[in-house]
């Protein structure tokens, strides 16, 4: 309780009061308050879409709040631009790496506040030197003069961290900084955070990984559906309590997995490899089975799945569907053969924003709804109505632009789109990413139902509860290879994480 | 009611045609019952002229007098105009015979062809290399004059035509082509440019290359545009017919045709103060000899056109 009294006596470095923010159709934040204290790490916890990143963007001047005030050292301030937040001493590592591929590492770090010489011109020598120094501080061995595009995802993230530290800030925000990092880098980051803490910085740390939250945080704040539902000292809570706050009920109910009789093999993949992305992929998928693919971000699951539907070409390997060898050169051919892929990047690869809901749903099935190449709108509406209703879509009309739907509802349209092709095998890549619990349940229930009817499902997911809740079998991938296979009976969160992170059982 | 005569030019804004318009207005005043519609496209294209012709046909003008950007491409549009009872003549730059009742040459082609080479030869008693800078590749008249020039080339001893290049009636292209000529032919003594755009650009290029006195630029040009270059010495002399008289005559001929005169070989058409023009077997007539301008008279004419 000593710590409690110390922090409450300290003045917050930055405080948010009654912040609200809405997007068309979504209330991302409603009247949340949050204080960050010097020399202390506050963990911000919440499900996908709870509003964490939105809060970060408000704190860094990228979004403007609809209501509420921000106080820096007790004084009310506004951050009309990202630069003004930086001047006020707030810096952030954002969830998406927002960097410039074509610029050098050093420039990525200092863009917007580069050191200048006495003529007001950018001083490249000092810039490169300072960048080298900063990179050393974060423990990354990167040449600051090379182009950013030549770095891997983990190093890019280290550059983003260096960029955040290049601003002499009193408040440091980290939005899922470890998601793309490997073991070694994560430990360096922990050390860095310890140092920042010792320097008296106020730190906001967002993460879905409870082990690291308990490792580095002093305080916690939990968000649910855009509202704050709890805060306090880490020392006073257990993981179960935090999860319960986050989700609002016991977790078990979310995954209505029905046991179905698993049939003969439908899809057989053998010896699949690609020069740079993956190799030695062998597995079988059986009728009625839900096969989970687990791994950390960047493990290459998406790349492999996309090669199955002809987006990229594997350099070797064979696919058999119902015992017959298939050569698939494009998604169109995959759909014809009965293998469909629901992509992970909804905005870029899934939804066609600008087209109405029904046209999104029927796009891959047009050959069935049309007659000799001519559209039949009535058929299209019927097909779209059938599938969207079963996924419990909420929309004003089927003629509405998908762009006007909330993320979860967009995801339902995307899933409906590929289900409407009546596939034999469906590959779902992060199917419930960014959708609310109710919709998640609807998607999972439908998945179970389809498996019961004999559809085979591959489910790529980075959410352990989803994997353990829904999969009959799990394959774990790491750096482009299969590193573990688990039956439902032997599944545990710990085993999955260890396999995915490359930590041996003994350690 | 006034008779409407349209004077269609290659492109609006060219000094030569503005001067022709002056002549047409003069004719209109003299005739009393004529309204001149002075028009043309804004760049020298056949398609632009066709759109202009279409709108003139729609306005039911009584006559069209045109200086053509393309001898052949205008024929269908002008034929249609004639079908609707409009008298069509061409002047300066001609239209193929099917597309007009008659063509008024500013001067006769052989005379011009002879004139331009004579202008060069007059200042080259010992002969030497000369090059031709022509106008737009699609212009009709230039190429005819160059042909005529080549026919009489033998009469000028020692004059050696080494090249013909095209400036497309664009100042910058003509300039660059002239530079190319100066580069390629170190012994070049004269450049003949039978086009008012080309001659100016060529004179400028010669001055910029420091070749004044070495290369003489001559051909056909407007006194107002050439006065500076004659003074600078890059052009010793050049020739042109009087565009005012040309516009005047074209208007008079058109009026004569509206009044019922018939354009056929051998016919004589009235041109007011310019007398009459006699048509040859192609229904073409020539106005007069080109007139030579040099340091002695160019300033005086520069004030007029």
């Amino acid at each position: 309780m000593l710590q409690e009294t110390t922090t409450s006596r300290l003045k917050p470095a930055i405080a948010l009061e009654g912040i609200s923010k809405s997007f068309p159709g979504v209330r991302a934040l409603s009247e949340v308050s949050l204080s960050l204290y010097p020399g202390s790490v506050t963990a911000l916890i919440g499900e996908n879409g709870a509003g964490k990143s939105t809060l970060v963007k408000i704190l860094t001047g990228i979004y403007q709040p609809d209501a509420g005030v921000i106080r820096v050292d007790g004084e009310e301030t506004h951050f009309p631009t990202a630069q003004s937040a930086a001047y006020a001493g707030v810096t952030a590592i954002h969830q998406e790496t927002v960097l410039f591929d074509e610029l050098s590492v050093a420039e990525n770090i200092f863009l917007g506040h580069a050191p200048r010489n006495r003529f007001g011109l950018i001083d490249w020598k000092k810039l490169n030197g300072d960048a080298r120094e900063l990179l050393r501080r974060v423990g990354a061995e990167i040449d600051p003069t090379i182009r950013l595009r030549d770095l891997g995802i983990a190093n890019k993230h280290m550059v983003a961290i260096a960029r955040a530290l290049s601003i002499d800030a009193s408040v440091v925000i980290m939005d899922e900084p470890t998601a793309a990092l490997s073991h070694k880098e994560i430990h360096e980051l922990y050390e860095l955070i310890d140092r920042l803490k010792a320097d008296g910085k106020a730190i906001l740390f967002i993460s879905h990984k409870f082990d690291e939250i308990f490792r580095i945080a002093d305080r916690y704040t939990v968000f649910r559906d855009g509202g704050m539902v709890g805060e306090g000292l880490i020392a006073d809570v257990t993981q179960d309590q935090l999860v319960k706050m986050m989700v609002g009920r016991d977790v078990g109910q979310v995954f209505p997995k029905v046991d179905v009789a698993i049939g003969e093999p439908v899809l057989t993949v053998s010896g699949y490899r690609h020069p740079t992305e993956f190799e030695d992929i062998n597995f079988e998928l059986r009728r009625g089975e839900i096969l989970g693919f687990y791994g950390l971000i960047g493990a290459g699951r998406s790349e492999f799945m996309q090669s199955l539907i002809g987006i990229t070409r594997p350099s070797a390997g064979a696919v058999k569907l119902d015992g017959e060898v298939l050569v698939i050169r494009s998604p169109a051919e995959a759909i014809e053969a009965g293998i469909v892929y629901v992509p992970e990047e909804r905005g870029r690869q899934g939804a066609i924003i600008g087209l109405p809901i029904f046209q999104n749903v029927t796009l891959p099935s047009l050959h069935r709804t049309s007659r000799s190449g001519f559209l039949k709108l009535a058929n299209e509406f019927a097909l779209a109505r059938e599938y969207t209703q079963r996924l419990d879509l909420r929309a004003a009309s089927l003629d509405q632009d998908v762009g006007t739907l909330s993320g979860g509802n967009q995801q339902k349209v995307v899933i409906a789109k590929w289900l409407a092709t009546q596939p034999k095998v469906i590959i779902l890549d992060e199917p419930t990413k960014g959708i609310d619990i109710g919709s998640k349940a609807a998607v999972h229930a439908f998945m179970s139902e389809l498996a019961g009817q004999g559809l085979s499902v591959i489910m790529v997911s980075s959410e352990i509860p989803e994997i353990t809740g829904m999969a009959d079998r799990v394959i774990v991938m790491r750096e482009g290879r299969i590193v573990g296979r688990f039956e439902r009976s032997e599944l545990s969160a710990e085993k999955l994480v260890r396999a995915a992170a490359g930590i041996s059982e003994a350690a | 009611e006034n008779k409407k005569i349209a004077l269609v030019v290659k492109a609006l804004g060219i000094g030569f045609f503005e001067a022709a318009n002056k002549g047409a207005q003069e004719a209109a005043k003299e005739l009393g019952d004529v309204e001149i519609i002075y028009t043309g496209p804004t760049s020298t294209t056949a398609e632009g002229q066709i759109e202009v012709i279409n709108s003139l046909v729609a306005q039911k003008v009584d006559a069209i007098a045109i200086s053509a950007n393309d001898k052949d491409a205008l024929v269908p549009a002008l034929k249609k105009a004639m079908d609707r009872g409009i008298k069509v003549i061409s002047w300066d730059s001609g239209v193929a015979p099917e597309g007009r009742a008659m063509h008024l040459n500013p001067s006769s082609n052989p005379l011009i062809g002879n004139m331009i080479i004579k202008l060069a030869a007059d200042h080259l008693p010992e002969g030497g290399d000369v090059a031709v800078l022509s106008a737009s590749a699609t212009a009709t008249n230039q190429n005819t004059w160059i042909e005529e020039m080549k026919k009489v080339q033998g009469n000028y001893k020692g004059i050696n035509v080494v090249a013909t290049v095209y400036g497309d009636d664009l100042a910058d292209k003509s300039y660059r082509e002239t530079q190319g000529l100066i580069q390629s032919y170190p012994n070049l003594k004269a450049i003949i440019a039978p086009t008012s755009v080309g001659i100016v650009a060529a004179a400028q290029a010669v001055e910029d290359a420091g070749k004044v006195g070495q290369i003489n630029v001559t051909g056909l040009g407007l006194p107002s545009e050439m006065a500076g270059h004659v003074k600078a010495g890059s052009s010793k002399s050049f020739a042109i017919w009087n565009p005012i008289d040309l516009g005047y005559s074209a208007t008079m001929i058109a009026y004569d045709l509206i009044g019922g005169a018939e354009a056929k070989p051998g016919a004589e058409l009235k041109m007011g103060r310019m007398g009459t023009v006699k048509l040859d077997e192609n229904n073409e007539g020539a106005m007069a000899d080109p007139f030579v301008y040099d340091a002695s008279n160019v300033e005086e004419f520069a004030k007029i056109f």
């Binding site: 690869q349 087209l355 009309s397 | 056949a46 052949d72 491409a73 249609k80 190429n143």
Partner: protein, 334 residues
């Protein structure tokens, strides 16, 4: 939290009736503009309301509009083809060459169409085969195709087209309806159906709105785009036949600058230059508007360049006005 029941909720197909939507559309705005220009023209000039004159006026836009239909599809799919005017020139040159070898009309037609198709194929292969940006590729082929005409023709011209060839640009099908106008109407119908009523048209929209998602959804993106460039090539070939027939001659500078007029027509017709939206009726209306403006100004002997200022202002303002209007309404709502 109570478990949410999966009670099926019926989502209506449409909220707005078709009529209601039509009223608020871009096309109705264009229609108003077109009617306005028509009315102003008929008051401004006594010669405007004459069937033959109106018929002549259609030649101001028919050839460009035929290309604009195919261009609309290309732009909706998120690409652009700036080489169309040069394809006209090269097709015309090829036909002229055929004439000089003594071929007759049927062969000329085949040569004209064939050249257009080959040019379209070259664009298509460079853009979809090598994955190059269409704006740069077609700036390149724009110079290349016209350059080839210049190499073939130099300062010469092809003339002497057979008499029967004159029909395509100068013939009348019935009364004041020229062959070109009838062809224009026919293509307006064909392209309307192709874009709005077929699977192919739907694929075009899908590609324009989100090419990656369209690919993932089983649209053969490369093939569709390739066909689109073939179509612009083909339409440029057809326009070339009409224009060559109308002029009765070929010079390499034929149809200079037409590509910008075609693009202007398409954008004025409400096609988003960023791809993804637009309709053929919009383009048809834009064609009429541009034709009427040119002809109306022409009757008043206004120089062509003043018309182009007008078109330029029209282009920017019809796009800016809805944006400003929406902004003003939002301000009032606040």
């Amino acid at each position: 939290m109570a478990e949410r029941t999966l009670s099926p909720r019926v989502i209506p197909d449409r909220l707005q009736s078709r009529g209601n939507r039509l009223l608020k559309s871009w096309e109705s705005l264009l229609l108003v503009v077109a009617v306005l220009i028509f009315t102003i023209n008929s008051f401004a000039s006594p010669y405007f309301l004459d069937p033959w004159n109106l018929s002549d006026a259609t030649f101001n836009f028919t050839e460009k509009a035929m290309i604009a239909f195919a261009m609309a599809l290309v732009i909706i799919a998120g690409e652009i083809d700036l080489s169309v005017a040069s394809i006209i020139a090269l097709s015309s040159t090829a036909m002229g060459l055929a004439v000089s070898f003594g071929f007759d009309t049927p062969v000329l037609i085949a040569v004209g169409l064939g050249t257009g198709l080959v040019c379209g194929m070259i664009n298509g292969l460079l853009i979809t085969g090598l994955g190059l940006p269409s704006i740069v590729v077609t700036i390149g082929t724009m110079s290349l195709f016209r350059g080839l005409s210049f190499i073939i023709l130099g300062d010469k011209a092809f003339t002497g087209y057979p008499a029967s060839f004159a029909y395509f640009g100068q013939g009348y099908v019935w009364w004041v309806f020229s062959f070109e106008f009838v062809l224009f109407a026919l293509f307006a119908a064909i392209y309307s159906v192709l874009l709005h009523k077929t699977n192919f048209g739907r694929a075009v929209y899908a590609i324009g709105n989100n090419q990656t998602a369209a690919l993932f959804s089983g649209v053969r993106v490369g093939r569709v785009k390739f066909i689109l460039f073939l179509l612009t090539g083909l339409m440029a070939g057809i326009a070339s036949i009409c224009l060559t027939s109308r002029l009765g001659s070929t010079r390499p500078s034929i149809a200079l600058g037409v590509e910008l007029e075609v693009v202007t027509m398409v954008v004025l017709g409400g096609v988003s230059i960023l791809g993804g939206s637009g309709t053929i009726p919009g383009v048809v209306l834009a064609a009429f508007i541009m034709g009427m403006v040119t002809f109306g100004f022409g009757l008043l002997n206004v120089p062509g360049i003043v018309m182009s200022i007008f078109i330029g202002v029209l282009l920017i303002s019809v796009i800016a006005l809805p944006i400003l209007w929406a902004r003003a309404r939002r301000r009032v709502a606040h």
